[in-house]
């Protein structure tokens, strides 16, 4: 029944409640005050809300696979098709070197973490605006929203990674013991994605322009990252290390090193990349927390 048809409110007979006896005194005490300037990250509270983080991540994954016809296949199609295009144009036509690895697997090993990063970046940047209704109706640590958006990409990553393993099998490339480091590089991609995502999502609440810049950011970033080409194109070792300021350089070189055993000795790149990623994460988190108080009023 809709409101227009409604005939009226029925007066409910409810007995009036006399003031009840004093209940048990609660141990919880909360003080609400205006905050000024930079505020603490409240990581403990975030931890207390880990179940919500789990449920929101689970919702994002579930809804996406429910709403699309091809469902899980999308996770594979995107990096796979990009790999085909790259192999054709950069590998076959432009004859870009690939550190002695077959070009398709060289580029696909980079596209898998890249897709995870780009998806996380895009989802988290729009996450607050998409959750406007929640922001206005209920309290929870707002950081849960961008974090769950990035996390929801992990399932896609797993699927695309499975294809990578199959491709390696087909090309007869056996993974080495270095594969044990892979989760660390995934974590590095996660950190970068979330760091940037926190900056952009908080800005996006205020300026919807941000939404339109995201495709550009990811596109430029992609070409600034050694996905279609190897970082060994840069011969000067110092310059290569500086190249690591782009944290995704560390992720990609790390992936190739861990899986394909490329001989690019990426240690210094990875150290620089990790530092930048951590810096992005921390600054993003503080900026996010600082802007947080305005979200519900503005979004």
């Amino acid at each position: 029944m809709s409101v227009i048809d409604e005939t009226g409110l029925e007066n409910t007979k409810a007995t009036k409640i006399e003031q009840a006896a004093t209940g048990p005194i609660s141990q919880y005490h909360l003080r609400i005050e205006p905050s000024k300037g930079w505020v603490s990250l409240k990581l403990r509270e975030l931890w207390e809300y880990r179940e919500l983080l789990y449920f929101l991540t689970w919702r994002d994954i579930k809804v996406r696979y429910k709403q699309t016809v091809l469902g899980a296949t999308w996770a594979i199609i995107q990096p796979l098709m990009t790999m085909v295009v790259f192999s054709l144009f950069f590998g076959n036509l432009a004859k870009i070197p690939s550190d002695g690895i077959p070009y398709p697997i060289f580029s696909y090993a980079a596209l898998v973490p890249w897709t995870f990063f780009a998806y996380g970046l895009q989802q988290s940047s729009n996450s607050l605006v998409m959750s406007a209704n929640l922001l206005k109706k209920i309290y929870f640590p707002r950081l849960v929203i961008p974090i769950s958006s990035v996390l929801s990409g992990v399932v896609d990553f797993m699927l695309a990674f499975l294809i990578l393993l199959i491709m390696m099998l087909a090309y007869g490339i056996a993974p080495t013991i270095n594969i044990l480091f892979l989760p660390l590089f995934l974590l590095l991609a996660f950190t970068t994605s979330l760091g940037v995502g926190m900056w952009l999502s908080a800005m996006n609440v205020q300026f919807r322009d941000v939404k339109y810049t995201i495709p550009f950011i990811t596109q430029f970033w992609m070409f600034a990252t050694p996905i279609a080409y190897p970082s060994s194109l840069i011969e000067n070792a110092l310059l290569r290390t500086i190249y690591g300021i782009n944290p995704m350089t560390g992720v990609i070189e790390g992936f190739r090193w861990a899986l394909l055993k490329t001989d690019t000795a990426p240690r210094s790149i990875i150290i620089v990349s990790s530092l930048t990623a951590v810096l992005l994460l921390i600054s993003g988190a503080f900026y996010f927390r600082r802007m947080e108080k305005t979200f519900a009023d503005v979004v």
Binding site: T7, I17, I25, Y28, L30
Partner: protein, 436 residues
């Protein structure tokens, strides 16, 4: 413990919003050009400093809440009343930590559960079962807690048969029931409830009120916002009255309600609705309500029997075909006096795109003197697109309608009736119906 039995202590609470002021006028082309160039930098600068409002170049300040002090004891059930825009929702949003105050502080002793909406966090693609877990987690329940209460929630909502059906296939009533069922099983020490009872049908509202009653009876602290004065006076022993952001009365519910009904002046014949008035669907908006008499003179107070003209502004970006409008008129106690709608009269309006005004001329009505509240619902194809409740509408004055020198008294009922009287010394009792 020194804090004793205080559950909530509010001190000097204030919340300021900045709203768009008049745009600055550019004097010369050069000025505007330099502004175009420098504005993004200014904006970027203020963005980094965290001055979001300054960033958008807005300046007018509005205090939605100012100098508010009050305390709530543990186990107390307190009503918060006031007309739209008085600051009730802002107060609840601060107490539930959705937004931060600009001044002052609140101390809360106890775990807070806020219920500002029914079905918070529901996702239409997910099944009822999945949504119970999702919404429960969003409202602050642990998974173990939801597991334990799951059957009870399903039972309360009465949706056993559809528990594995996506919520998008639910009727709106079922969705509401499920949403409320989840929220009703929250067990916070302090419960904050907004106008959630304004949705749904009478049976649903009865169920909600019953549950509220139960919660209050368990000795938990409840803050309850409503436009339904009957519900407030039934549930709450104490109420506070807000007006234009200030707490203007605090006391026994009956006395506070009296103050509200008698003391509150209806501010203007033109009510422009803001953000907080609308529901969350934004396909179309009811933008304003203008009350006039039939000579199109703006007016708020009418004599008994005087026709009233209501002009309702609608705005929609997309074309809305087959639009419908409903108006409910409640008396000051929240009792529905009558409802009119284009749907029930089967009146078809042309499709609406952009702004439009729908005019409803109410004929001679014999309403008893008093204040009347309006509820507006705009929709299309049996669906509500925007609903606004609790609008302080018009006032009917106790005029000497019959010219008898006597005034109508509220105890005499809610409508005037003017019968035809006659007197007969020896009225014949006729068997046959009178001839026409």
């Amino acid at each position: 413990m020194i804090m004793g039995d205080i559950a909530i202590r509010i001190e000097n609470l204030g919340k300021m919003y900045r709203v768009g002021g008049p745009q600055e006028r550019y004097h010369t082309l050069r000025d505007s050009l330099t502004d175009i160039v420098s504005a993004p930098f200014k904006r970027a600068q203020s963005l980094l400093r965290g001055q979001v409002y300054g960033a958008a170049g807005l300046h007018e300040e509005i205090w939605a809440l100012k100098d508010v002090f009050f305390e709530v004891k543990q186990g107390e059930v307190v009503g918060i009343i006031g007309r739209n825009g008085a600051g009730k929702s802002t107060l609840l949003k601060i107490l539930s930590r959705i937004t931060e105050p600009t001044t002052g502080s609140v101390d809360i002793y106890g775990r807070v559960g806020a219920l500002l909406e029914v079905g918070t966090g529901f996702h239409p693609e997910l099944t009822g079962r999945e949504n119970i877990f999702l919404s429960g987690a969003i409202l602050g329940m642990s998974r173990e807690e939801i597991d334990r209460k799951f059957d009870e929630i399903v039972d309360f909502a009465g949706v056993e048969r559809f528990i594995d059906t996506p919520v998008k296939h639910y009727s709106s009533g079922m969705g509401l029931r499920l949403g409320f069922a989840v929220a009703a099983h929250l067990e916070p020490e302090i419960l904050i409830v907004d106008e959630v009872l304004a949705v749904g049908d009478a049976a649903f509202q009865k169920k909600c009120l019953g549950k509220m009653d139960e919660v209050a009876g368990e000795g938990r602290t409840v803050l309850f916002v409503s436009h339904n004065m009957a519900a407030v006076s039934n549930l709450c022993s104490r109420s506070v009255l807000l007006s234009a952001g200030h707490l203007i009365f605090d006391g026994d519910s009956e006395v506070t309600i009296d103050h509200y009904l008698n003391g509150e002046q209806i501010a203007s014949a033109l009510t422009i609705f803001d953000e907080s008035d609308h529901n969350d669907q934004r396909e179309a908006l009811i933008t304003h309500l203008q009350i006039r008499d039939t000579h199109r003179v703006e007016k708020l107070t009418f004599s008994i029997g005087e026709p009233i003209r209501l002009e309702i502004g609608i705005y929609s970006d997309n074309a809305i075909s087959d639009p419908q409008l409903g108006i409910g008129v409640d008396n000051a106690l929240g009792q529905r006096i009558f409802t009119v709608s284009t749907r029930i009269q089967d009146i078809s309006l042309p499709s609406i795109q952009g702004s439009a005004t729908i005019v409803c001329e109410l004929p001679v009505m014999m309403l008893a003197p008093g204040r009347y509240m309006l509820k507006l619902a705009f929709g299309a194809h049996l669906e509500d697109l925007d609903v606004i409740t609790g609008i302080a509408g018009f006032e009917v004055l106790a005029t000497d309608y019959f010219g008898s020198g006597r005034l109508f008294d509220a105890r005499q009922g809610v409508i005037y009736v003017t019968p035809t009287w006659s007197f007969h010394q020896n009225l014949e009792i006729v068997d046959e119906p009178a001839q026409h």
